[in-house]
Amino acid sequence: MKIKVWVNGKLVQDDIAPDMTLFNYLRDKGYKSVKCGCDTSNCGLCTVWVEEKAVLSCSVLAMRVDGKHVTTLEGLQDEAEAFGMMLASEGAEQCGYCSPGLIMNVLRMKRELKNPTDEEIKAYLSGNLCRCTGYMGQLRAIKKYMSQNGEA
């Protein structure tokens, strides 16, 4: 079926299967930051933005984003790098597999929450799982990042 979608600002038109997920669509287009960790809509690793809302690309049909704007980590490289450096300097990461999904949700949170408490941060990010760490390093980095002024 015909689909027209803006991925990271670039207009793309394709002919796809009606049951293709947005996750598979993006992977096929070469956006390899988008990964599937759990296949049960629980881990947050496949997070992308559709019209400025964070969604689980594994659970959204690609046809649903027809005519819409999709943003992946590849489209937010400067911000992702800035926050990624903070994660690294706090020693937050071990294998790093879950980072793209976490980063996509943190960048979204930065736009939606102003001066959040620790509890609000945890509530916002509770759908992003990491299986190596205890989240403490991430939380330190996130708090630093959230306290930076201005639009991320």
Binding site: P18, D19, T40, S59, V60, L61, L125, S126, G127
Partner: protein, 264 residues
């Protein structure tokens, strides 16, 4: 993951309903989160997302929630936090994460009458109705008791009332399904006690409600008696998350806590 041969974004409810009746395996698509966990074969998936059903509106008598509203919208919408003691907004907060709740729709949640449904439990403790395209308006309670007849859930209607309410759950881990869900409200017509994830779908505890609503004041002993009645009248069961005994124990604690909060 399900398989699907065709995808149609409909321009009207009439078109959607006609399409739904055309083939046994034509389905209305909500957020597709639960659907993707199964492996059914769908002929035509019907997308309602262009029908403006993603609005929460207030009128004289009620708050109306379009079927395509996401759970995240319900969580953050000012009306949902202003009315009903905020319990509807509260009930969705622990469902997986923000990204999940941006995808999941209230229509999908309610139409499916999930046993584990947080929001069904909360809505049942309010004066809630569903509007079906073919079946018209009926109470949420009647809707969840009826057998599955193919129809389209258009909106959820919650009648405005001055209430105090609480929503409480027990979960094995923070973002998991609830092991037990309890919503209790106190309005002009008295108390309502809704218990879900028993693990069967939410139900009202009528005997306990009648008992409470025919008392003038609520003392410790009466709360104990009411809690006992809930355990007696509703069925509790076991599954991989919890045993019947554990659920009954949780129900006692959560209902008691709720009644104590509301009786002050």
């Amino acid at each position: 993951m399900f398989t699907m041969t065709n995808y149609v974004t409909v321009g009207s409810l009439e078109e959607a309903y006609a399409l739904l009746g055309k083939n046994k395996s034509n389905k209305i698509l909500g957020g597709t989160l639960w659907m993707r966990m199964g492996s059914q074969t769908i002929h035509t998936g019907i997308d309602l997302s262009q029908l403006g059903l993603d609005q929460i509106v207030e009128n004289e008598e009620a708050i109306e929630i379009g079927a395509m509203c996401s759970l995240r919208m319900i969580e953050t919408h000012p009306l949902m936090n202003e009315y009903f003691s905020g319990i509807v907004a509260e009930s969705v907060k622990d469902i997986v994460g923000v990204q999940f709740r941006n995808c999941a729709t209230i229509g999908g949640s309610i139409y499916s009458r999930f046993g584990f449904s947080d929001i069904l439990t909360a809505l049942l403790a309010l004066d809630t109705y569903v509007e079906l395209y073919h079946g018209g308006i009926l109470s949420l309670e009647d809707f969840i008791k009826t057998s599955y007849e193919k129809d389209i859930l258009v909106k959820i209607i919650i009648k405005k009332e001055q209430i105090k309410g609480t929503y409480q759950t027990e979960r094995l881990s923070h973002t998991d399904f609830p092991v037990l869900a309890v919503a209790v409200t106190k309005g002009q017509k008295g108390y309502k006690i809704s218990v879900g994830a028993r693990p069967s779908k939410a139900a009202l505890a009528y005997e306990a409600m009648h008992y409470l609503n025919t008392r003038d004041e609520l003392g410790e002993e009466m709360i104990e008696s009411a809690v006992h009645k809930v355990i007696e009248e509703l069925n509790f069961g076991s599954n991989m998350r919890a045993s019947e005994t554990y659920r009954k124990h949780l129900a006692k604690v959560l209902i008691k806590r709720s009644l104590k909060t509301l009786s002050y």
